[in-house]
C-alpha cells in the first residue's frame, strides 16, 4: 500500500532508519521527525507504511445569516496551507474564523462566503464582476457591512474596480489583507481584520482598504478604494493613500474611529448604482527612455490605452528634432484617430498631471491625450477607463466621463499634506513609520 502525506512511515537508508509523518513534497520524500524537524530524502529510498492517516471531517464553510458579510477572494489572509494534502484551502468557516480571531464574537452576527481562493496576481475583471454581484446581492438582502479578504498585491486594482461597479453603496465595503500570513504568530491579519470588522460597523459607506497604519500593531488606516496603493513589497504599512489623507484612523481595541478626510455616510435607504460591465481590452504601458514607436503601434487592437508617463505626464515627442531621439507622438495620434482613447498618468505616483508646462505635454495634449490636471493613480485610471469602456464607446463621451470625479478617484485641489491628522490620536507616538505614508522606508522618520 502506497503511503500518502499524513501517514506515519519508516524510511531506511544506508545511514540509518528514520520514523515520522510523511509530509507533502513536490519531489522526493519529506519526513516530519518526532522532534518536529522535517528531513528530505531522495526518491530512491524505500518508504514503509507504519500507520495510515485519517483525515478529520470537513465542515461546510459557507454558513450563517449575518449583518456583517465576510467574502473571501483569496490571498494570504483567507487561506492556509493544508499540509496533509499539500493544497491551499479557504480558511473561512465561522468556526475557523472564531478560532483564529476569538474577539470576533464581540461583533454582530457574521456570515462568511468563501468566493475564490486565488493568488493576488491571478486576479482579473471576471473575479471583480462576480464579487460585485455577490456584494450587491448581500447589500440588497440587508447586510450592514461587507468585508472582502483579498491578496495585497492587486488589492488596489480590485478596490478601484468595486468602487466603480458598486457606486453609492449604502454600507461600507472594506477590503482587507495581510502582509504576514495568518499562520504566523506575528501576522498582521488579526489587527487588520478586527479593524475591518469594526470599520464595517461605523458610519461610513465607501469602498476602501484597511491595513496597518504603521509598523506597530497599534492602529490601521482606512484608505479610499480609488486612491490607495501598495507602496512596499513586504512591510505591514505598505498601503498608502495617494495625494489625500486616509479616510479614517481605526483601532478596535480603543473603539476609535477617527475620520481624517470627507467620506460618504452610511444610509441604508440609498440605492447602489450597480454596473458590473467592464471592457478587459485595455492596455497599460510604462513609458521609458528609448521606448519604441512599434510598441505603440502594436496597441491598435486595444479599445483603450493608459500611459504611465514620466513627470507631469510626458512621453518622448522630440520637439527639437534631435537626431538621437525618437518620438512616439505620431504613433499616439494614430491610435487616437482610430477612436482609441489614450489616458495619461504618472510614474511619480504622487502629484498632479499637467500637460501645459513643457512642450512635450502640450504636443501630447494637442494630440488628444486625456488627463491634464488629473491626479489619478495609474491603476485607478486603468480600472476607470476599462469600466467606462464597458458601457461607452464614443471617445468624446469616454473623455467626459473620465474627467468627471465619480468615486474620489480625482480631486480638484492638491491637498498640502501634513502630519497633523495624526494628532487626533494623542496616543499615537511619532514612532517608526507612523507617518510612513509620506516615506518609503518604515525605518526612516520624516
Amino acid at each position: 500500500m502506497e503511503s500518502k502525506p499524513g501517514d506515519k512511515v519508516r524510511i531506511k537508508t544506508d545511514k540509518g532508519t528514520y520514523e515520522g509523518r510523511l509530509m507533502p513534497s513536490k519531489e522526493g520524500h519529506v519526513l516530519k521527525l518526532d522532534t518536529g524537524y522535517n528531513v528530505g530524502f531522495s526518491d530512491k529510498v524505500k518508504v514503509e507504511l507504519v500507520e495510515k492517516y485519517i483525515a478529520p471531517e470537513k465542515e461546510n464553510p459557507e454558513t450563517g445569516e449575518g449583518e456583517i458579510v465576510i467574502i473571501g477572494m483569496g490571498g494570504t489572509i483567507s487561506s492556509k496551507v493544508d499540509y496533509n494534502t499539500g493544497g491551499v484551502h479557504p480558511h473561512l468557516s465561522p468556526k475557523d474564523l472564531l478560532k483564529l480571531f476569538p474577539e470576533l464574537s464581540s461583533f454582530p452576527s457574521i456570515k462568511t462566503i468563501p468566493l475564490f481562493s486565488i493568488l493576488s496576481e491571478d486576479m482579473n475583471y471576471r473575479f471583480w464582476q462576480q464579487a460585485a454581484e455577490v456584494v450587491y446581492k448581500e447589500i440588497k438582502n440587508g447586510a450592514k457591512g461587507i468585508i472582502i479578504l483579498h491578496g495585497t498585491d492587486t488589492m488596489s486594482y480590485s478596490s478601484a474596480a468595486l468602487s466603480f461597479m458598486l457606486r453609492q453603496t449604502p454600507v461600507p465595503v472594506v477590503f482587507v489583507g495581510a502582509q504576514r500570513s495568518s499562520d504566523r504568530p506575528s501576522s498582521d491579519s488579526r489587527l487588520n481584520l478586527m479593524n475591518a470588522v469594526f470599520t464595517s460597523t461605523n458610519n461610513i459607506a465607501n469602498v476602501g482598504v484597511i491595513m496597518h497604519a504603521t509598523t506597530n500593531d497599534d492602529y490601521s488606516f482606512f484608505h479610499l478604494g480609488t486612491r490607495v496603493r501598495k507602496m512596499h513589497t513586504s512591510a505591514r504599512n505598505a498601503f498608502k493613500s495617494i495625494g489625500v489623507p486616509p479616510l479614517a484612523m481605526v483601532d478596535y481595541r480603543r473603539k476609535m474611529f477617527e475620520q481624517l478626510s470627507p467620506a460618504r455616510e452610511r444610509d441604508m435607504k440609498r440605492k447602489t448604482l450597480f454596473d458590473k460591465r467592464f471592457n478587459p481590452n485595455v492596455a497599460m504601458i510604462y513609458i521609458h527612455p528609448g521606448i519604441k514607436p512599434k510598441l505603440i503601434d502594436s496597441l491598435s487592437s486595444y479599445d483603450g490605452v493608459v500611459l504611465v508617463g514620466t513627470g507631469l505626464g510626458h512621453a518622448p515627442t522630440n520637439p527639437n528634432k534631435h537626431p538621437f531621439a525618437t518620438s512616439i507622438l505620431e504613433n499616439l495620434k494614430q491610435l487616437i484617430s482610430s477612436n482609441i482613447p489614450v489616458i495619461m498618468s504618472s510614474q511619480t505616483i504622487e502629484g498632479r498631471l499637467n500637460l501645459n508646462v513643457y512642450s512635450a505635454g502640450r504636443l501630447l495634449s494637442e494630440a488628444g491625450v486625456i488627463g491634464s490636471m488629473m491626479d489619478w493613480t495609474p491603476e485607478t485610471a486603468f480600472i476607470k477607463l476599462s469600466w467606462i469602456l464597458g458601457h461607452e464607446k464614443k471617445i468624446d463621451k469616454v473623455k467626459e466621463e473620465m474627467l468627471t470625479p465619480l468615486e474620489g478617484e480625482i480631486t480638484k485641489r492638491s491637498a498640502i499634506l501634513s502630519t497633523t491628522y495624526l494628532q487626533v490620536d494623542k496616543l499615537a507616538q511619532p514612532h517608526v513609520g507612523a507617518i510612513g505614508w509620506l516615506t518609503d522606508s518604515p525605518l526612516i522618520e520624516v
Partner: protein, 595 residues
C-alpha cells in the same frame, strides 16, 4: 540519572537570514516599535502546550532597533533572505568532523516562540545532521542533532505584561549541538561541554566573549522527567546545575510519595479562592498595606493536607512552595506567600495568621497559599497553583538557570507541535562540492590543530593560544612568517599588560606589520611593546614611530662606537640602548673586543 547537553554557540559570520553584521550595539536604540504575538496551529493542526501557556500572558512587546545591525528582516517587515552560506559551511564542516550523518536536504523550520524574543513569533531552525559520537574519559557520548538556528532578541526589561527586547542580537547564527542522554554525572557533563567547545573554537569561525556560548542541560532521573535547564553560561558551574536538578527531582519524588499517601492518587482540589483583605485592614505589613492602597486585595486558597510539605527544601533556598510560586507568576503576580513560610518576614502577626487559617477553613494538616493582587489576577494565579499542586509527578519543564546554581520554572517542555515549515526559504540540497568546501572552512579539527600548535610551541604556550580568542590572528601571523613564540607572547602577554595600563589595540593587523619589521631585523623584540604603545597613542605607522622615537636596531658599527663611548660598561649601555640592541649580540662584541 540521565543527562544530555545542548551547546549553543554563536558563529562569527553575518546574520543567518539577512546581511546585517553580527555585532552587538553599545549605542542608544535608534527607534522602538510595538508588537503583539498570537498562538497559531502547527502544520499538523496541533497547538503547542508551551506556546499556549505563553499566550495566556497576552503581552505587548517593545523592540529596540539599532541602525548598524537591524534591517527590515529583524523587524519582521521583510521576508528572510537566503540562508547565510558561510554559516552553513561552518556547521557542515563541524558535522563532518563529528562523523554525524548530514541530511540530504536542509529544511528550515519555524519553531514557535511567542514570549516575544523573536519578532516573527518563531525561531528559524534547520536540522543539518543527525547522530555521531564524541570520545570522552567515561566512554562514548552519542550526538543527537546538529542544528543551525537564529539567535533570539535580548531582553531589556519586563513589567506588568509588557516586555522590551533589543534586536541587535536577533538573527545571529547559532550552531546547536545536542548530545544523547549518555552523560553520567555533572563532572562528565562539564567535560563534554568543554570538548565540544574546543572543537567549535578550533574552527576559528565562532564568536568569542561573554554570552557567545550557552549550555542547556537535559536532566532526568529514574521515575522523574526530562527537564531542560536553560542558559548555563559558565563551564565550571555545569556540575552544580546537573546535580541540583537531579536532587530537585529526587526531593520532589519524596514529596509526591507523601502527598499520595495523604491525599490519594488523582487528587483534585475543591478549594475556592477567598478574599482576606479585611483581615489586614490595620496590618503592620507595609508590603500588604501598600499594595492594598493601590487597589489590590489579599486572596488565599486552601491547600489540603499540604502542611509542612510547602516548606520542604528541594534545592538550597528553593522549596516546594517555590515551585507553586513559579506557576503563580504566569498570571502576572510576583509570587505567593505560603503557610510554611516565616510570617515575620512579611510582618504578618500571629493573630492575622490565625484569622487566615480560620477564613480558609484550614486544619493543622492543611496549608495555604496567599497572593496580594487584583481579584482576576489572583484567581488566575490560584488556578496555576492548583494545576501544579495536582501534578503528582515530576513535570516535564523548561527551567531557567538561576545564578546560584538552582533553577526556576519557565514553561512546559515544548513538543513537536511547535515546529512548522519556513515557507519563505527554499530547501537546500547538500552536494558533494558543498561538503568539500565545508571541510576546508571548518579546518583541521581540534586534535590536529593542538598537535600542530604543540610542534610550534611549548605545551603551555600551545594551550594558551589554543584557548585564546586571538587564535585566528595567531594563525594569520604564522602564515606571514612570524616567529611562533614571539607571536604568542605579543598577542597574549604584551597586549594584556598594555590593556592593564589602559592601552587597547583595536587594529590587530598592526601586530603583523611590527612582527614583519622585526623579521627584517630592523628592530629588537624589546622594542615591540613600545612601538605598539606609541601606535595606540598616536595612530602613526610603525615606520614613523621607529624613526620619531629612535627605536631602530643599531648597526654593528654603531654598536662598536657605543661600546667605545661607554668604555664597555654593560649596565650603562643597556640602560640607554636596551630597546635598540640584542643583549646577546652586545655580550659577544664586548667579549670579542676583550680578547
Amino acid at each position: 540519572m540521565k543527562c544530555g547537553i545542548e551547546i549553543h554557540q554563536r558563529l562569527a559570520t553575518e546574520k543567518l537570514f539577512c546581511r546585517c553584521p553580527s555585532i552587538l550595539s553599545d549605542s542608544e536604540p535608534f527607534k522602538e516599535i510595538k508588537r503583539r504575538l498570537f498562538v497559531v496551529e502547527s502544520e499538523t493542526g496541533e497547538i503547542d502546550r508551551s506556546a499556549k501557556e505563553q499566550q495566556e500572558k497576552k503581552q505587548e512587546f517593545t523592540y529596540q532597533i539599532f541602525n548598524e545591525n537591524c534591517c527590515l528582516v529583524e523587524t519582521d517587515e521583510e521576508p528572510p533572505h537566503e540562508m547565510n552560506k558561510d554559516a552553513l559551511l561552518i556547521v557542515l564542516g563541524i558535522a563532518q568532523q563529528m562523523n554525524s550523518n548530514i541530511v540530504e536536504e536542509v529544511h528550515t523550520m519555524r519553531k514557535l516562540v511567542i514570549d516575544g524574543s523573536n519578532t516573527s513569533g518563531f525561531q528559524r531552525t534547520s536540522l543539518i545532521a543527525l547522530g555521531g559520537k564524541l570520545e570522552t574519559s567515561e566512554g562514548d557520548v552519542g550526538m543527537l542533532t546538529l542544528v543551525l538556528e537564529e539567535e533570539s532578541a535580548g531582553i531589556v526589561s519586563e513589567n506588568n505584561g509588557s516586555r522590551t527586547y533589543r534586536l541587535d542580537r536577533l538573527g545571529i547564527p547559532l550552531i546547536e549541538i545536542a548530545t544523547a542522554p549518555d552523560i553520567k554525572n555533572g563532572k562528565h557533563a562539564k567535560e563534554v561541554a568543554e570538548k565540544i567547545g574546543m572543537m567549535l573554537r578550533a574552527t576559528g569561525k565562532v564568536a568569542r566573549g561573554i554570552g557567545t556560548i550557552r549550555q542547556d542541560l537535559n536532566v532526568s532521573i529514574e521515575n522523574g522527567a526530562r527537564v531542560e535547564v536553560k542558559g548555563v553560561q559558565e563551564l565550571k558551574s555545569i556540575p552544580l546545575y546537573v546535580e541540583n536538578e537531579a536532587k530537585r527531582q529526587e526531593n520532589l519524588l519524596v514529596i509526591i510519595k507523601e502527598l499520595k499517601s495523604r491525599l490519594g492518587e488523582g487528587w483534585k482540589s475543591k478549594a475556592k479562592p477567598i478574599e482576606l483583605t479585611i483581615i489586614f485592614s490595620s496590618t503592620k505589613s507595609k508590603f500588604i498595606s501598600n499594595l492594598v492602597k493601590k487597589g489590590a486585595g489579599v486572596f488565599g486558597i486552601k491547600l489540603e493536607k499540604h502542611s509542612s510539605l510547602l516548606g520542604s527544601e528541594l534545592n538550597p533556598n528553593r522549596r516546594y512552595g517555590s515551585e507553586l510560586s513559579d506557576y503563580a507568576k504566569l498570571a502576572g503576580v510576583k509570587g505567593i506567600i505560603h503557610s510554611d513560610e516565616d510570617m515575620e518576614k512579611y510582618s504578618i502577626l500571629e493573630s492575622e495568621w490565625k484569622e487566615i487559617q480560620d477564613s480558609l477553613n484550614c486544619s493543622k494538616e492543611d496549608g495555604f497559599a496567599m497572593v496580594v493582587a487584583e481579584k482576576q489576577t489572583a484567581v488566575r494565579a490560584f488556578e496555576h497553583v492548583l494545576r501544579r499542586a495536582e501534578m503528582f509527578f515530576v513535570p516535564e519543564e523548561t527551567r531557567k538557570a538561576n545564578p546560584d546554581g538552582t533553577s526556576s520554572y519557565m514553561r512546559p517542555l515544548p513538543g513537536r507541535a511547535r515546529m512548522y515549515p519556513e515557507t519563505d526559504i527554499p530547501l537546500i540540497k547538500i552536494t558533494k562540492p558543498l561538503l568539500s568546501e565545508a571541510r576546508k572552512t571548518a579546518g583541521e579539527g581540534a586534535e590536529k590543530k593542538m598537535k600542530r600548535l604543540s610542534s610550534l610551541l611549548n605545551e603551555d604556550l600551545a594551550k594558551k593560544i589554543f584557548r585564546s580568542p586571538l587564535l585566528p590572528v595567531f594563525e594569520q601571523l604564522i602564515k606571514k612568517g612570524a616567529e611562533p613564540k614571539l607571536a604568542v607572547t605579543t598577542l597574549t602577554e604584551t597586549l594584556v599588560s598594555l590593556r592593564r595600563e589602559g592601552f587597547e589595540l583595536k587594529d590587530l593587523s598592526f601586530i603583523e606589520k611590527v612582527l614583519s619589521i622585526y623579521n627584517e631585523k630592523k628592530i629588537t623584540k624589546a622594542a615591540i611593546p613600545e612601538i605598539i604603545k606609541y601606535h595606540i597613542q598616536s595612530k602613526e605607522t610603525a615606520e614613523a614611530i621607529i624613526k620619531k622615537h629612535n627605536l631602530g636596531l643599531l648597526s654593528s658599527e654603531e654598536m662598536d662606537r657605543i661600546i667605545k663611548e661607554c668604555k664597555g660598561d654593560i649596565k650603562r649601555i643597556m640602560s640607554k640602548y636596551r630597546l635598540r640592541l640584542d643583549p646577546k649580540e652586545l655580550m659577544k662584541k664586548i667579549k670579542g673586543s676583550g680578547r
